[in-house]
Subunit: 314 residues, 2 copies
């Protein structure tokens, strides 16, 4: 009973279920599910298929949305690598607990066979860092009201968590859970997208502005976060058989439309997203008796759905 | 090469390796490993074996330190449950991505067989909530300098992440990664320690002060975080075979001393811990070119080690 009740309350909290019928819901904040159910079609964005990577693992598919408005050179280089099948046959090589899952060429590593390193083809070997960019006032910006430990301002832009520093006029993508970054060598221009990582624990904010962030996992995050941790230094797998093979990475735009996933992302400049943030800040229901009254940037997950069908719209 | 270099730099950052010999370390902040190597024996605390739970899973052992100064009734009830072998034969029943891994009695759930619910023995069915406590000025307190989105003050006390509200005179354990909480029913007094959860993603700060926090995982966190996520609502496993069996949970104090682990926790009121926080706030080395200058409470993991042997001391 206890577990169920916790479940029901948390389901309500995360929007999977309505509150139990018996609960006093008169003062309850709406759930994300309730708010999403009332959203308008225009509040949802269908990502550009040129920005969607489909990474096929044995466990299933991971869908990543690139962020070319923030890291355009990296998005372009990753597209080149994908189109030349660079990632096909590579692997997840490292899972470091409470930090990152990283994938790329196992031979491009200290213990790898350097003679077998996969060539980058026509992709560039080095790129300008793109750790930050000039604040673009033309991009939509949804500021959060509760401050941030690391940055003067935080909020969302085009579906991504962003920090801003008005004093320097710079903004950057934040390493929240599920954000995908570009591994690099010591040289700041040495990241080229051939090895990527995703944040799987407490947001590693100390690497913000020290690495380029390429995008966000929209679907299949559990295939990356729920892996056994590597037992080598930094979570590297110590045996080849522990690595998860990457069957293929494809761009959605290179697939026939019928084979593309019908994913939509809630617009972060929509009224529904603002209402969800407000409800999460002031959560009050049968289970939550003391609302936090605040929310951290990385405690907000931008909703993703499968595009509503005709029947969903009724 | 790139992966290795990233590895080396990050190893340095997290204290597993010194910086590559070729790097310019003249302006580098010391690593945690370097600071820990210089720590004094008196800066390490050996937890009271009455506060240490050994949870044996097929994958290995998880060690949890209870926090009786913050949640004494829960610590006492959990000890009673453990001593009466309540947890032996139960299971990990739920892994919800970016939230919690939870364990307890699979039958004490909506889909369980109520007739088979394991009795609590002499443990109490209900407990006073213990979500917060009066600030105890006699406990050591190491305040962090960079603020917090959720609480007026944050810092460490006795090895645990703690938030304080001087206005109300209350303090509470924070749901950082690896902190262990007490599942409950809707009624605030319905948590009794028979089902526990651990935070496995971005710190779910919204549940602070809404649930009792019982302690922290000192060892074996990867056995809880690196599990496949449940595919049912809230991450519940949908089939019995997916659950991870709990072979046993024992109190260290109930084992002969020779069978106890020699774990030590760095004192959070020590000079070395203060130096580690400072180094993490101002990380500068060959890889990190832009130190954050700040740190969030939940980005600090209190160091744990196996007690130094005679040879380590040289």
């Amino acid at each position: 009973m206890r577990l169920y009740r916790l479940s029901a309350a948390l389901m309500a909290a995360i929007g999977l279920l309505a509150l139990p019928a018996a609960a006093d819901t008169s003062k309850a904040t709406p759930t994300a599910k309730e708010l999403l159910a009332k959203s308008k079609p225009s509040e949802w964005r269908t990502p550009d298929p040129q920005n969607l990577l489909y990474m096929q693992l044995p466990q299933g598919r991971v869908v990543i949305e690139l962020a070319p408005d923030f890291t355009p050179l990296h998005a372009a280089n990753i597209r080149t690598l994908v189109r030349e099948h660079y990632f096909d046959g590579l692997a997840i090589i490292r899972v470091q607990d409470n930090f990152v899952t990283q994938w790329g060429d196992p031979n491009d590593d200290d213990n790898g066979d350097k003679s077998k390193i996969k060539p980058l083809g026509s992709a560039k070997r080095t790129l300008a860092p793109e750790y930050t960019r000039a604040i673009d006032a033309t991009l939509p910006w949804t500021a959060l009201p509760d401050g941030d430990v690391y940055a003067p301002q935080v909020g969302f832009s085009e579906g991504f968590p962003v920090a801003r520093d008005p004093a320097s006029g710079r903004e950057w993508l934040v390493h929240c859970y599920g954000m995908v970054g570009v591994a690099r060598d010591v040289a700041p221009d040495s990241g080229n997208g051939s090895s990527l990582y995703v944040a799987i624990g407490q947001a590693p904010r100390q690497i913000d502005r020290n690495l380029a962030v390429a995008g966000r996992v929209l679907e299949g995050m559990a295939h990356l976060s729920g892996l056994p941790r590597g037992t080598g230094a930094l979570g590297f797998y110590t045996q080849a058989g522990q690595r998860v093979p990457i069957l293929s990475v494809k761009l959605a735009s290179d697939l026939p439309p019928a084979q593309r996933e019908k994913l939509q992302v809630l617009r972060t400049d929509s009224a529904t997203f603002a209402a969800i943030i407000d409800a999460k800040r002031n959560r009050r229901d049968a289970f939550y008796t003391l609302p936090a009254g605040k929310i951290d940037l990385c405690n907000i997950d931008v909703p993703v759905r499968v595009e509503a069908t005709a029947s969903d719209k009724h």
